[in-house]
Amino acid sequence: MSQFLQVLLSGLATGSIYALAAIGFTLLWQAAQTVNFAQGEFVMLPAFFVLFAIKVLSFPLWLALLFGLLLAVLLLGLLFKKIIAEPMQGNLGLPLVIATMALAILMKESTKMFFGAEAQPFPELFPADTMNVLGAIVSVQDLLNLATSLLCVVALSMFLNRTRTGRCMQATAQNPAVAEILGVNIKRMVLYTFLINAALAALASFLISPLYLAKFSNGETLGIVAFIAAIIGGFNQIRGALVGGLLIGVLDNLVATYVTAEYRAAVPLVLLIAIILWRPQGLLGTSEGRKV
């Protein structure tokens, strides 16, 4: 029981971080009708902003995290939209998809050049203690990672559903033409989406780097897992991305513990194939048609 609870918790904690990155996929899909294949690198890079602030600028951790968050929002949100996404919109999304692939390579190689190929330690945000839950010894770090991610997703959902700006963003995602007729500043709403995506990626980066270590190649795995999570959950639903992320995190840990460690990496892919075959819109997604 103790082992199952710990494995489940670890899976949920990791899965919730995957979910943050996966939500970014769904947000950009809704706002720009494109897939950002640099999403993994968006999660990789903010950790290095923090390390830069700590090592070079000698900032304390809290200030370095704030610096990393702001820089991520500025570079991965604002600049990404203005320099790459905006000029390429209106071309059925394909040029932008290819541009994000190139951006992923650029970010990865630049990070390698400036920060080196070696992994670097990232400061722990939460204490690495254990606590007793229902008779099982579980990690406090896992609990707090899970709580932080879920809190963030809940806050995002409340923002989108219960605020005027959030509803305008949803209207823009659902039908930009009608939203504009109704007076919604759709350019601003799309910009907000990009900024939120960057902030979520930064948060995922801060939570996952203490365990995964900060490394230029981290985005490869994270990007793929988050992409699969978004598809499994439903590419056009935030709650779908959350479910997809949690599902992959939990399944990965359960399979590695109770079935096979050797083939754990295959599990998300098998799940992906099954979902595409039997429910292409994802577990919680809705069917969409589009003229091409």
Binding site: Q6, V7, S10, D129, T130, P210, L213, A256, T257, E262
Partner: protein, 381 residues
């Protein structure tokens, strides 16, 4: 008249220089390339190996080189990829390599050493997988003991010091890991110690939650950890996170400088048997560590020592042979012992057997307050 004489002399000098065979000019240097992992999973090890080798070259060149020739070392980044390493080995040999230093990553060495063997180029590797010297390749030489030599040194530690009757083993599923795992399992069987959890992981694996969970539930009294540096650090961090309280014992990497840096507090208390360590209380190694720190403004793990002694071994063997004869160098090294008193660049007295396997004194270490501390010496076997 004077002007004409000077002009004639100048023309004659140029003509004389041009008539020199190009081979003679080329003999001013000897090429010893470093096939190192500057990127990829083994980048930490490869970088240290390369830096150690370059440090030795600077010293040797400053003292006149090898038999009057300056050493020229070009680095070839294998990207920790076996196929890339094979192609680069061929390129290094085509470029005129006299001998090769590297690679560290066993999966690469097992592939690229076939190329150096075919070309008859001696190769001084930093790899530790047992099967590298079991292939009958007369041109491969180790710069550190293999797992087949190192892991058995841990058996008395598990049996007598820790008094563990049940152990777990966490290993990386690659050439390096499989070699260490197989030797360890065999040793435990011989010692009558039960292996209650056999946990393999993939190279580059980031999440060790399931691995640690399995070890916790297995009832093991100690864990043998045989992973690369980054994975070792991630496992240590996860072990601390889940409150794993049994001793973690490794071979070589677990108490290395890079692992300590990456794992932070989580590395404290970890044990490892190491063939080479800059923390050893040996004057020659302390002197090397100081020189490395002064040159690169950082510390190195055992891989820096491997690179350093690889270059010195090539120098001493060439001088013993009395010329740049690759085949004679390889023959000379087999069954040879280089005494540190006569050959100080070896740092410790070193012997190679007829397969290129290495033997010398080694150390038991523990991480205490974020530093690797030598807690015992293991004699050469």
């Amino acid at each position: 008249m004077m002007r004409r004489t000077v002009a004639t002399l100048a023309i004659a000098s140029v003509a004389a220089l041009m008539s020199l065979p190009s081979a003679l000019l080329a003999q001013e240097t000897v090429k010893i390339p470093c096939l190192c992992e500057a990127s990829g999973a083994a980048a930490v090890s490869g970088t240290n190996l390369s830096d150690g080798a370059h440090l030795a070259i600077e010293e040797i060149n400053a003292a006149g080189g090898i038999l009057g020739k300056q050493i020229e070392m070009v680095n070839y980044d294998t990207q920790s990829d076996p196929q890339v390493s094979r192609a680069l080995m061929q390129k290094a040999i085509d470029d005129g390599a006299y001998a090769v230093v590297g690679t560290v990553f066993s999966g690469s060495t097992i592939v690229n050493m076939l190329v150096s063997q075919q070309a008859g180029v001696p190769q001084f590797t930093g790899s530790e997988a047992p099967n590298i010297t079991a292939q009958g390749n007369p041109y491969i030489f180790r710069t550190a003991s293999s797992a087949a030599k190192g892991v058995p040194s841990l058996t008395p530690y598990f049996k007598d010091t820790l008094k563990a009757d049940k152990v777990a083993v966490a290993w990386v599923n690659n050439e390096f890991g499989k070699g260490g795992h197989d030797v360890f399992v065999g040793e435990m069987e011989k010692a009558g110690i039960e292996i209650v959890a056999d946990v393999s992981s993939e190279q580059g694996q980031a999440d060790f939650a399931a691995d640690i969970s399995k070890i916790k539930e297995s009832g093991a009294k100690a864990v043998f950890v045989y992973l690369n540096e980054e994975e070792s650090a991630r496992l240590l961090r996860e072990a601390k996170k889940q409150g794993l309280s049994i001793p973690l014992v490794g071979e070589v990497t677990l108490t290395g400088q890079k692992v300590i840096e990456l794992a932070g507090d989580a590395a404290n208390g970890a044990y490892a048997h190491v063939g080479l360590t800059t923390g050893a209380d040996v004057p020659s190694i302390r002197e090397f560590a100081d020189k490395f720190n002064a040159r690169y403004n950082r510390t190195t793990d055992h891989n820096g020592i491997k690179g350093y002694i690889a270059v010195y071994a090539i120098k001493y063997l060439t001088e013993l042979v009395g010329g740049f004869d690759r085949e004679a160098l390889a023959k000379k090294a087999h069954g040879l012992t280089l005494d540190v008193a006569t050959y100080p660049g070896m740092l410790l007295t070193t012997s190679w057997d007829d397969k290129g396997e290495l033997s010398r004194e080694s150390f038991m270490t523990q991480v205490v307050d974020g530093k690797q501390v030598v807690i015992g010496t293991v004699p050469a076997n």
